[in-house]
Symmetry: C2
DNA sequence: CTCCTGCTGGTAACCGGTTACCTGATCGCT
DNA sequence: AGCGATCAGGTAACCGGTTACCAGCAGGAG
């Protein structure tokens, strides 16, 4: 109604006939103010439609900052689900949370982290696995120290832990365990020639899944076959292209496929279909992540508690949770004391056929 | 390296042996400064790892604010894709963008808008259709005026325009046209009994799609049948439940289904499958939106330029685009001068069977 | 050799809040 | 009635930047 431009606390004070201190106190809540005075102030606030300037507030008083989550892309369900968990938990804690996207671009990640430092974000949650090389490790270590110096916390989700003294909290999924379970599922259905589709050397998530796959094979006495491990990025197009290429090279030498994630599985299924192969009649397939396409494809996969990961990241960031041995599962990688791993479980749907005994 | 706590511009000035003004000027870029002085400053900045405080900056100088996009949930592909468009365009314009989610809760929307006012966001983009009632209209009008008073712009995406004098920009999809096209597609394949699954009275997006559906039927001389219009929220579960209920009530009295969106279609397809009906052999189906499940389900649907919507919203918000008659398609609703409508097109996949002539 | 001009860089006011410190008034007590 | 204790509310310093305004100094003109 009476909306006017740029109303400040002095305008409110003048209008209410009190001092700025009183207005601030009324708005702050704690300080004792006479009911009559308080009323004058709230009336003035309402009449002027006064909204305090968050920047001025942040500048003068030390107040809770925002919680930022940085992901590759919000259009990838894996990230979207984690981000949702973060948002929910943050909302529950009464914090502002913001989602930033990098598009997988290291340069943009850099400028976003810088921007979040400028904003004095209270916590920065970096999500998503990456190829770990020296340059990455150095960059992360730098972030961690810079953020720590500014009083913010850094949480890495689904990324490998950094060195011992680096101030970063880490939470992730038990990729090796899940991959082991789902591979064992295929093995116990009688499959012996299982194609792993999604090799990405140096990429920690994929590496962990491959490790689980190999371990399960070894336990069942099935020799590893390099020809059954093919490279593919973790998206639909890559899964499609890789499977197409494979099928074009000759008749399938495998009876089942373990796709690096559900999107890869979706692409692979499309390629199989186009090649006249039916799932699961001709080829069995399992995915990983249990993100939306899985249900529609009736895909057996490994369920990840995305939501839980996001919520845990926020709790860690706010110091509500002390990483160490508390809540769950086996440790994934280096046994640092600041790493938390969330358990996973297999979701059986209809994409795996039981083979009769040979 | 030399990370220290809370470094201010005065620290840098002291270290460099110059005044704060000089430091600010070096950082600002424009002002002429001797190379030697500049070097001293940049060295001090680097040594102290100084990061300017965004709040202080925002407070003193009028600098570009953030662009905020407010959506229901980032886990719904429709929103995620639009949000991605916003992020991309904002990044391209060199702006910080943040995604906020409401979970569909009006109360949370309220507090988010308030928070964005406090943050002095430059633009607020509200996405997603809603049930329009008096309370909604009043609330939006209030937002619009409040944001305008604070110097921010409000952009509504896929929401109906407000009254004439309300300072809000609107951009949306041509829902009526798309629904018309896809219904006509079914009709020309020989279908006459087409079930519309997704009725939501008062919900503008659904209403527009129903309107297109009815118009296409009428043009082809097919009488409207209330029994063929069934209610369902726009998510997978609702589509599943509604179709299940329908099938339980008796054998299908329709040969094709027009689902309110792709998620509804996904749910409906699952219910059909569980009931022993095959798509498209027994029942044809089309969706709307062309979001990820569509491809995996081989679903014929209407493609929406989500990305374009997001980008357009940002351009509108930044005043790069003047709504009026410029870029595209037919007008959706009220012909206000500040409404922009983006065209859609049909994507033919394999979920529709051509019926032989009767 | 002055004086003016142009350029560099310093001083201090300001952005809009919060809050330590202080004042003036009210109240209860002796 | 006189005293200190208590409490509401005002004054002003401060948070960390930006920038209007001004001063000092060098070089060119007269």
């Amino acid at each position: 109604m009476t909306a006017s431009n740029r109303v400040t606390i002095r305008d409110v004070a003048k209008r209410a006939g009190v001092s700025v201190a009183t207005v601030s106190r009324v708005l702050g809540g704690e300080y004792p103010v006479l009911a009559a005075t308080r009323n004058k102030v709230v009336r003035a606030v309402r009449e002027l439609d006064y909204v305090p300037n968050a920047h001025a507030r942040a500048l003068s008083a030390a107040r809770p900052g925002a919680i930022a989550i940085v992901v590759n892309s919000v259009a990838v369900p894996y990230y979207a689900l984690i981000a949702q968990g973060v948002e929910e938990q943050a909302a529950q804690e009464g914090r502002l949370s913001l989602i930033c996207t990098t598009g997988g671009d290291t340069g943009r990640e850099l400028s976003i982290v810088r921007l979040l430092r400028e904003q004095r974000a209270e916590a920065v949650i970096l999500v998503g696995s990456v190829v770990v090389d020296d340059e990455y490790r150095e960059r992360m270590t730098e972030y961690a120290h810079a953020l720590a110096a500014a009083g913010s916390r850094l949480v890495l989700c689904g990324r490998p832990p950094l060195g011992e003294g680096v101030p970063a909290l880490v939470v992730g999924f038990d990729n090796t365990g899940g991959a082991h379970a789902v591979t064992a599922h295929l093995l116990s259905a009688g499959h012996r020639r299982i194609l792993y589709l999604g090799l990405r050397p140096g990429h920690t998530t994929s590496d962990s899944r491959v490790a689980g796959y190999r371990a399960a094979l070894a336990e069942h006495g099935v020799p590893a076959d390099p020809d059954l491990e093919v490279e593919a990025e973790f998206d639909r197009e890559a899964g499609y292209a890789a499977m197409r290429r494979r099928l074009a090279a000759g008749p399938p030498s495998f009876t089942a496929v373990f796709a690096g994630n559900d999107l890869v599985a979706a692409g692979a299924i499309q390629a199989l279909r186009e090649h006249g192969l039916r799932v699961p009649d001709d080829i069995s397939i399992v995915g990983y992540d249990d993100v939306p396409p899985a249900q529609d494809l009736d895909l057996t996969t490994v369920h990840l508690p995305h939501d839980e990961l996001g919520r845990t990241a926020v709790r860690l960031a706010l110091g509500r949770l002390t990483p160490g041995p508390p809540s769950s599962g086996p440790m994934d990688g280096a046994g640092s004391a600041r790493v938390l791993t969330l358990g996973t479980h297999i979701v059986v749907r209809g994409s795996v056929r039981r083979l009769g005994p040979r």
